[in-house]
Symmetry: C2
Amino acid sequence: MGKTKKSKASIYDIAQAVGVSPAAVSYVINGKDKVSEKTKAKILSAMAEMGYVVNQTAVSLSRGKSSLVGVCFPLNSSSLVFSDNPFYSEFLANFEKEISKNGYDTIIGYLQTPQDFERWIVSRGLDGLVLFGLYSPEIFKIILAHKVPFILTDFYDPEFKASSIRIDDEKGGYLAGKHLIELGHKNIAFIGGPVEASKVDSKRLEGLNAALKEVGLSCALHLEAPTTFDGGYNAATVLKEHPEITAVFCGSDIVAIGLMRHAQELQVSIPDDLSVIGFDDLQACTYVYPALTTIRQNIPLKGQLAADNLLKAMKGEINPDPQTLTPTLVVRNSTSKPRF
Amino acid sequence: MGKTKKSKASIYDIAQAVGVSPAAVSYVINGKDKVSEKTKAKILSAMAEMGYVVNQTAVSLSRGKSSLVGVCFPLNSSSLVFSDNPFYSEFLANFEKEISKNGYDTIIGYLQTPQDFERWIVSRGLDGLVLFGLYSPEIFKIILAHKVPFILTDFYDPEFKASSIRIDDEKGGYLAGKHLIELGHKNIAFIGGPVEASKVDSKRLEGLNAALKEVGLSCALHLEAPTTFDGGYNAATVLKEHPEITAVFCGSDIVAIGLMRHAQELQVSIPDDLSVIGFDDLQACTYVYPALTTIRQNIPLKGQLAADNLLKAMKGEINPDPQTLTPTLVVRNSTSKPRF
DNA sequence: CTGAAAGCGCTAACAT
DNA sequence: ATGTTAGCGCTTTCAG
């Protein structure tokens, strides 16, 4: 039974007050247009008077939909990726803003095992899911088994019929490379994350390589580092040992920011000694000094589109062609001509 | 009715399979110890076999509790404060991590009107609430009316019986002032947010003033700016017009970061021309150059304590004495002796 | 130790 | 146009 006596007015209470059936009340709540204007007005005023608020839980149980959507971020190494990379909170803020307009609330999944994952989506009866990065086939089996609409973000290998949204990572990498090349750099390094979590960095590297190849160059050094500030910070040590490298392209801004920070501590001046270009265009790009040149992906737009697409997916409208946003180059102050 | 036929096994299904009543299944699920070991074992194995997952919605309706908690951030000027200030996402990440261990999911409130607010908490049947900053009496009336356990964060004026957690803002301000004074600064400015959203900045200013007073000084300039990067950025213009000011204490790191950024663009060198000290100790403090000297509040700890206190509050254990964390000074590179 | 059954608040056939 | 009623899946008295 409920916890207390009668904490809130139910449709029964208001039905009784007006002298109609609960169904009638339900109809007007849901705009079913099965009630005369007259009784509708009475019901409405009774609802207002009695401070009626719908019980979503009851609606959920009855309708079999929770009005709850879940978002899962790539779970690298048990860390709170959500706070490791501002990208996710920027995305999330915009996603939530958009989807909450449609009556959905968002919960975040902190999932370790496929069992956890299954419990999470089914026990909450999630109406939709947004998935970032890569997941095991086992996870997908679960999602598919439960028929939960989902969209993929920053995902490749489209073996599922699902809407997906990503950006043209290769193009982005190409733009970064082109920019560095036009500046006159010959020895360019790349720092990207481990492939297990996401393939976006590989694509970005491909783009860089394509630009390099056009002018007969190739990537001078490929470093793998976690997609975190510390990942970039630590990579600086390696770069310090390679004075021939005059520019570095980081697969993520947060890595570039960490790198710049440590580079400055190591007395390598940016951009004079080393040009740095990132990827994402976090707000933090303008926090740092010099401001970070980067490949911009429109994060707010991405969040909004993710919401739109998920909304559609939940209505059964799936667009299997990945929706690909075009990144752009944003030149700030962390890149310049090489010194020599 | 439900949406499809029989998407998932219910306790009825597993009861039937084992040859017991649904109640028995419910008992073992909830560890009620009313079932013999023998049937318990059978039930358990049937659950595993049939892939039983509890339906939280049904539990919620039956028990009158949702296992959902809400968090509300101060709603300044219709902006996504959540992405404006990394403080909130850092807090949230840690809060969620902690509270999700106890089976709760978290939803965020984007609330404009008291009506929205009421709908939100009651329709979802939130089990608990964490409130940041200030809210209107009207909002509190609603919360109290619905008896939703809540905790206050960064809140003063304790007219309610509620657990609250905050830091010793005045002490923090004092530490900041002391640091600047010891460095030899005489003309110190303060930049804080508008009082409507939160009183923490006023307290921080009080602390600064206390330190100043000890040595016969007073605050040279008090600027009000939104607690955002842009707020700080714009404030730099004013400071530029006051060359006599050699140091500034910002009520929030994000403001300090914006200020530093613009100051550098305006050719005022930090810390040589201007010492800057912030408050919070965001991760971004180490992103920037020079790294920001700040008053550290342990954000992860705060998130964790908020979760602990809310958990307790939901059990009826309320601690009306505000839990006050002690901030500490973290000296980095944005402060130094004044030039003259 | 075990089961029957009455709710929790709402929706959606199915009558009337 | 409006009402009746059977669920949705689970909890929890109350009997047996």
